[in-house]
């Protein structure tokens, strides 16, 4: 497994882990509270910590590979995965805004924001899953 693939695994696991924790601990999305904001900031901080620690561990275990710049196949894989994720984000954002504004009248801006954030997280999961699939396909 290449350094880039391992990095993609670390990021994917970090996103899923932090998102699940956030959703489990902040179930009342329809009520914007101080606690929800603090939990979100803590989730973002946790994600950054997991990402940095994971990256450092991978870098220490694969120093030569980590120093090597991305080659053409790795760049191509990133672009292909990003394209799929962009479709998900584009379509998902419109769907999220439409659903929250037209099907649930009277919801606040924070619900629209939360649904778009959820779509962004799903798009990122799709992005890193697609990368891993492409890396596997080319290995």
């Amino acid at each position: 497994m290449s350094f880039r693939e391992k990095s993609a695994w670390v990021t994917l696991i970090a996103i899923i882990f932090v998102s699940v924790l956030y959703v489990l601990h902040v179930p009342r999305v329809f009520e914007p509270t101080h606690w929800a904001f603090v939990a979100m900031m803590m989730s973002v901080a946790s994600f950054v910590v997991i990402e940095v620690v994971g990256w450092l561990v991978l870098r220490l275990r694969n120093p030569a590979e980590a120093r090597t710049p991305k080659d053409e196949l790795e760049k191509l894989i990133e672009l292909k995965a990003l394209r799929i994720a962009a479709y998900v984000y584009f379509v998902g954002s419109f769907a999220a805004v439409f659903i929250t504004l037209h099907l649930h009248h009277g919801v606040g801006g924070h619900v629209v924001g939360a649904s778009v954030l959820l779509v962004f997280i799903v798009a990122e999961i799709v992005n890193y899953t697609a990368r891993i699939v492409y890396y596997r396909r080319h290995s």
Partner: protein, 74 residues
């Protein structure tokens, strides 16, 4: 449009060059070992730049390393 299949002689050429490893070749042409493996296995067709670099490492012309065959219609 006629479909083409690109094959390569990298594995044989590596063997003929003192059993050069994929890692050695990767370092010489500036890509990862996984990319060399993908090219060798025919899972990825490299850019012209990388193709020329591979040919240069083995002291061959590009068409001696990479060959294409016309297949059926797309």
């Amino acid at each position: 449009m006629t479909k083409i299949v690109i094959t390569n002689e990298i594995r044989r050429l590596r063997f003929e060059h003192r059993e050069m490893t994929q890692q050695d070749l990767a370092e010489k042409i500036g890509v990862s070992r996984q990319t060399v493996n993908a090219i060798e296995a025919g899972k990825y067709w490299p850019s012209l730049e990388v193709a020329f670099r591979v040919a240069d490492v083995f002291g061959r012309r590009v068409d001696e390393v990479f060959t294409f065959e016309k297949g059926g219609r797309k």
